[in-house]
Every structure is written in structure tokens, then in C-alpha cells.
């Protein structure tokens, strides 16, 4: 009897937790939706940039945090999205159509980039993918006829009818980010995420479970490239002008900061990491070299002090039971009942 009662209560509070989480998500989305009507144009830009980076980091985290492969071509794939979308629009393709197009193109390219993963692991893979990523950026510099070379390329800005430019860009970014986070979270919670982790920990041994390690490794590369390019196309819309130097180490290192400060292999780490990195950029933007120093130092501190990233702070807080107690009170039960 007592045990059955306890189960009912835990079931009840688990549902309460689910409800609270859903409520928080809806409120957060509503607040984000209201942002263009409340914030000035500078803050809206910062928020928009945060969301763009959060989507990019979502893909990077999938590759680095979940499948455990150090692929360092992510900034270049992001560039493919920004350039690809702008160039396709010049050819008359509507912006909203270019989003999935660049995603598919970069996803395919990312699978090719991931092919060294057949033979290489660890930092050998890191160096091979870094080299390929740099080669892509070099190619963007070299193909002057199409990309404008080092001088850069103007991006035609798409606006939803009846909404002003920056608000429209923001709404599109918000919609894409919400869908991307929802879908990636759904798939990582389920079978796909668990398989990725199995492959990560077992390597080739996962073959004995009937899982093709290679297929999942390449799938992780492809998906991360797909998401990176989508974020890149949004980035192009936000910046309205792109040039190759935007996508070199000065972007790759902040992306690593976002993954690791947020928390590699977590669900909300990309969002928190992106917010952190963008705030850092904006705080230090007039300081030039100090900004780079701050980035380097923050990356080092984050790795040394918080191997689990900022997300692990929230987890510590959650596991400290203070929230559990609050929820227990709300569902009308007390701790003694639960333990009884």
C-alpha cells in the first residue's frame, strides 16, 4: 500500500515536472516572440545573433558532444550556408527555399568531410577536418567570380510581407531555431541519441549490437553540416554582407567556446553557450585584443573548472532537491509520504 502510494505520488510529481517544463518553454517562446516589439534595434540584433549561433552550436554539439567526433570544419559549413543562400538568391531562388537547399548541400559535403572518420579518430580527425574546413574558406576566397573573393558578397535581405526588415529576419530565425531545437531534442532523447552515444563509447564494437558505427558517425557529420548551413543562411540575412575572413579561426574558436561553456552533450547547452559567447563579444567588442584574450581565457577556464559546462550548474541545482521539494509541496504531498 505504502509503496503503491509512493509510486502514485512520484508519478504525479513527474507529470507536474513535465507540465512545468512545458509551461516554461511556452512562456519563453512567447517572450521571445514579443522581443521585436519591446527591444531596441541593437538588442534585437544581439538576440537574433544569439539564436543564429545557438542553432549553429546545436549542430556542432550533435557532432562533438553527442557523437564524440572532433570535426573542426563547422565554421566552413556555416560559411557554405551563408554564401550558398546568398548566391542562390541572386539566381532568383526565394530565401525560404534556399534554407533547405543549403542544408542538404552542406549536409552532403559534411558527410564527405567526415569520410576520414573511417580511418582517423581523435585529434588526427580534428586536424584532417580542420584542414578541409580551411580549404573551403580558401576556395571561397579564390572563386572571385561567384563569391566576390576576399572582398565579400552582398546578401539580399528577405522580408515577410507587412513586417519591417529586422523584425522579419528575427521572426524567421526564431521559427527556425524553435523547430531545430524541438526536432533535435526529440531525436536525441530517443533511439538516435542513445545509438550515437553507444557508438561513441563502443566504437567498432557497436557492430556486435547490430549498429553500424560508420553509418552513425557519418550521419552525425551530415546532420551537423545540415544544421550548420541553415544557421549560416540565417547569419547571412542578419549580417547582410559576408566575407571569407568571417569564417576562419575567429569563428571556429567561439563555436568551440559555445559548445563547451554551454556544456558538451547537453540539450540546452547550445542556447546557453551562444548567449554567453554573444554577450562576451558585445561586452568586449570595443577592446580589440582584449576580446580575443577574454575568449581564450574563458575557454581555458571553462575547460579547467567546469568540464560539464554551464548546464552542469543547473543540473547541480536541480539535483540539490530544492526544486523537488517545491514541486512536492505543489502536488500536495510531503517528503515523508514520498519516502514512506
Amino acid at each position: 500500500m505504502a509503496i503503491a502510494g509512493a509510486e502514485a505520488v512520484t508519478d504525479q510529481s513527474a507529470r507536474a515536472v513535465q507540465r512545468t517544463k512545458g509551461l516554461v518553454a511556452v512562456v519563453a517562446l512567447l517572450l521571445l516572440f514579443a522581443a521585436p516589439f519591446v527591444l531596441n534595434s541593437y538588442l534585437l540584433f544581439v538576440l537574433n545573433l544569439t539564436l543564429v549561433y545557438a542553432v549553429a552550436t546545436l549542430g556542432f554539439n550533435l557532432l562533438v558532444g553527442w557523437s564524440g567526433q572532433i570535426g573542426l570544419a563547422h565554421a566552413a559549413l556555416f560559411a557554405i550556408g551563408a554564401y550558398g543562400s546568398a548566391i542562390a538568391m541572386e539566381q532568383g531562388v526565394p530565401f525560404l527555399v534556399t534554407i533547405p537547399l543549403v542544408g542538404l548541400a552542406a549536409g552532403g559535403l559534411a558527410v564527405l568531410i567526415g569520410f576520414p572518420a573511417i580511418r582517423l579518430t581523435g585529434f588526427f580527425l580534428a586536424i584532417a577536418t580542420l584542414a578541409l574546413g580551411m580549404a573551403i574558406v580558401e576556395l571561397l576566397k579564390g572563386a572571385r567570380a561567384v563569391t566576390g573573393g576576399g572582398g565579400g558578397l552582398n546578401v539580399e535581405v528577405f522580408t515577410l510581407p507587412g513586417i519591417n526588415g529586422s523584425a522579419s529576419t528575427y521572426f524567421i530565425t526564431l521559427a527556425v531555431a524553435a523547430v531545430a531545437f524541438f526536432l533535435v531534442r526529440r531525436s536525441l532523447i530517443g533511439r538516435f541519441g542513445r545509438t550515437l552515444q553507444a557508438v561513441r563509447h563502443l566504437g567498432q564494437l557497436s557492430g556486435s549490437l547490430g549498429i553500424s558505427a560508420l553509418r552513425y558517425r557519418l550521419l552525425a557529420f551530415g546532420l551537423s553540416g545540415f544544421i550548420a548551413a541553415i544557421a549560416g543562411s540565417l547569419y547571412g540575412q542578419l549580417q547582410t554582407f559576408v566575407f571569407p575572413a568571417m569564417f576562419e579561426m575567429n569563428l571556429l574558436v567561439p563555436m568551440l567556446v559555445m559548445v563547451f561553456v554551454g556544456g558538451a552533450g547537453s540539450h540546452w547547452g547550445p542556447l546557453i553557450g551562444a548567449a554567453f559567447a554573444v554577450v562576451l563579444i558585445e561586452l568586449f567588442q570595443d577592446l580589440g585584443d582584449l576580446q580575443a584574450i577574454a575568449y581564450g581565457v574563458v575557454l581555458m577556464v571553462a575547460i579547467a573548472v567546469l568540464p560539464g559546462g554551464l548546464v552542469s550548474l543547473f543540473a547541480t541545482f536541480r539535483d540539490s532537491r530544492s526544486i523537488g521539494r517545491l514541486l512536492a509541496r505543489r502536488t500536495g504531498s510531503t517528503r515523508s509520504e514520498v519516502s514512506g
Binding site: P116, G122, E138, G142, A292, I293
Partner: protein, 286 residues
């Protein structure tokens, strides 16, 4: 053609030395070090400042090498040691963060304008039967070869043997009484010394800046990749070959293709011979 090969050997010596610095740390401490060029650059900048302040050339060189060595040891003790238990990735990221921070710090203190380290022989040339050889080139190539021989000799000494044992199997080496921590500090110090030598050699021949460090480290990694991150000989030969290929590409194709060719070289080596191109040609003990 010969002239091009000669300048290739010169720049190849910088790449080879930096590659050796990376491999030495890799061997003993198991860290892929992206901050090596910046460590060398910090030391070299201190040297140029001393030189400009009127301190004569050789004392400035000695101070530069000492600073490079000490800086690397401090980095190992203060930053790397605690992270070793988390594996490769945090260490790799730590060196990336460090290279970014050091690079910016150099820019903050000394600015981003290119500088050179003027040697007593700077600007002097020799004419060898139509071949125009600068003393800077002779010094660089000779110092590169000497550095490589020195490191090879070091790895054959008892301490070098211990280092190889640690690289092979850290736990077993420690069980038989090898002090792995001390060896890692020594390897970092040695790496810092060689890296400052590489950057200083570059600075006495041409200009160095915060931007040149960023490309130097890539070339160093290309050289190290060619040696499979293990072989000292493979790394040295790979660095020289890279320098020559790069100069030939610059002369006969285009200077803007140089970087792309170096990247292509890394990729091909990693795909075709992940163990480095000298693997299989078993040179004893190297």
C-alpha cells in the same frame, strides 16, 4: 630553380623545427599543442625588444631561448597538468584557447606590425657560382639541421629513452620508477626552446607578426603529420619537403595557392599514410 629550392629549404627549416617542437611534446606529454608558434613568438618579441634596447645580439638570443623554455614549462605546470586525466580533447582545446590568448596578448603589448630580429649577418650575401645565398639562409638551414640532430641525440640519451617509455605506456613506465611529470615538463621546455629557435630564425631572415604565427603553426602541424606525430626524422624531412613544395608552387603556380597545397598535403598524408610517410621505413629508435 635552385634558388627556389634554397628558399624552400630555408622556410622548410622553420616548419621542420616547429614540427619537431610539436612532436616532442606529443611524444612525452601526449598533447597536440596549437600554442607552440605563439610561445616562440612571445620569446622572439622579448628578444627584439632587448635588441632594440641596445643589448647585443648573442645575449638577446640566449634570453629569447631561455624565455621560450620557461614559458612552455610554466604552461605545462600551471595549465596542462591538471587536465591530463580528462584525455585529449580538453588539452587540445586548452592549447587553442591559449594560442588565441597569447596571440592577442602579443598584439596588445607590442602591436600587430611585423618585426624582425636583426642579426649581425643580416643583409649579407654570398655568390656561389650564380646562386645568390644570404647568410640568413645559411644560418637557418644549419641551425635547423643542428636542432634536429640535437633532438635525435636527446631521444637516444637515458632521459630520452625514459620519455619514449612514457609515450609508449605511461602507467608501466611509472611502475618502473620513471618520473612522468618531470619528463613532461622537460619535454615542454625542450619544445618551447625549439619553437623559439624556429620563430627567431624566421625573424632574422624575414618579418614575423601575430599573423605569421598563425600560419606557421599550421605548417608545423603539416610537418608533424608527415612524421605521423612520432617520427623525428619524418617530421624534419616532411618540413623541408613542405618548404620546397610551397616555394615551387609560389614561383610556378601562384602564391595564393601555397596554403591550399599545404592543406591538401595534410589531407593526403592522413588519408593515405596515417602513420606518417616514413612509417615502415624503420629507422631504429626514431
Amino acid at each position: 630553380m635552385l634558388q627556389t629550392v634554397l628558399s624552400g629549404l630555408e622556410s622548410g627549416s622553420w616548419f621542420a623545427l616547429l614540427g619537431l617542437a610539436i612532436v616532442v611534446v606529443m611524444k612525452a606529454a601526449d598533447v597536440p599543442n596549437f600554442a607552440m608558434a605563439e610561445i616562440g613568438l612571445v620569446a622572439t618579441y622579448v628578444g627584439t625588444v632587448l635588441n632594440a634596447a641596445g643589448i647585443s645580439f648573442w645575449p638577446a638570443v640566449v634570453v629569447t631561448l631561455v624565455i621560450g623554455t620557461l614559458l612552455a614549462i610554466v604552461i605545462d605546470l600551471a595549465l596542462m597538468r591538471k587536465l591530463a586525466k580528462y584525455g585529449h580533447f580538453p588539452l587540445l582545446l586548452m592549447t587553442i584557447g591559449l594560442s588565441l590568448a597569447l596571440n592577442a596578448l602579443i598584439g596588445l603589448i607590442w602591436g600587430h606590425e611585423p618585426r624582425s630580429f636583426t642579426a649581425p649577418w643580416s643583409g649579407n650575401h654570398l655568390d656561389l657560382g650564380g646562386l645568390d645565398v644570404s647568410w640568413a639562409q645559411i644560418v637557418t638551414i644549419a641551425a635547423g639541421a643542428l636542432g634536429a640532430i640535437g633532438i635525435t641525440a636527446f631521444f637516444r640519451s637515458p632521459m630520452g629513452a625514459q620519455m619514449r617509455a612514457v609515450a609508449e605506456n605511461r602507467e608501466t613506465a611509472r611502475l618502473v620508477g620513471v618520473n612522468a611529470g618531470r619528463l613532461s615538463a622537460i619535454a615542454w621546455g625542450l619544445g618551447g626552446l625549439i619553437a623559439s629557435m624556429a620563430v627567431m630564425l624566421q625573424a632574422q631572415s624575414t618579418l614575423v607578426s601575430t599573423h605569421s604565427a598563425a600560419s606557421l603553426i599550421i605548417y608545423g602541424f603539416v610537418a608533424a603529420t608527415m612524421g605521423g606525430f612520432v617520427s623525428l626524422f619524418g617530421t624534419f624531412a616532411g618540413g623541408l619537403a613542405l618548404g620546397i613544395i610551397q616555394q615551387l608552387v609560389g614561383t610556378y603556380i601562384s602564391t595564393s595557392a601555397q596554403f591550399a597545397v599545404a592543406l591538401l598535403a595534410v589531407f593526403l598524408v592522413l588519408m593515405l599514410r596515417p602513420g606518417g610517410f616514413t612509417k615502415g621505413m624503420r629507422l631504429r629508435d626514431v
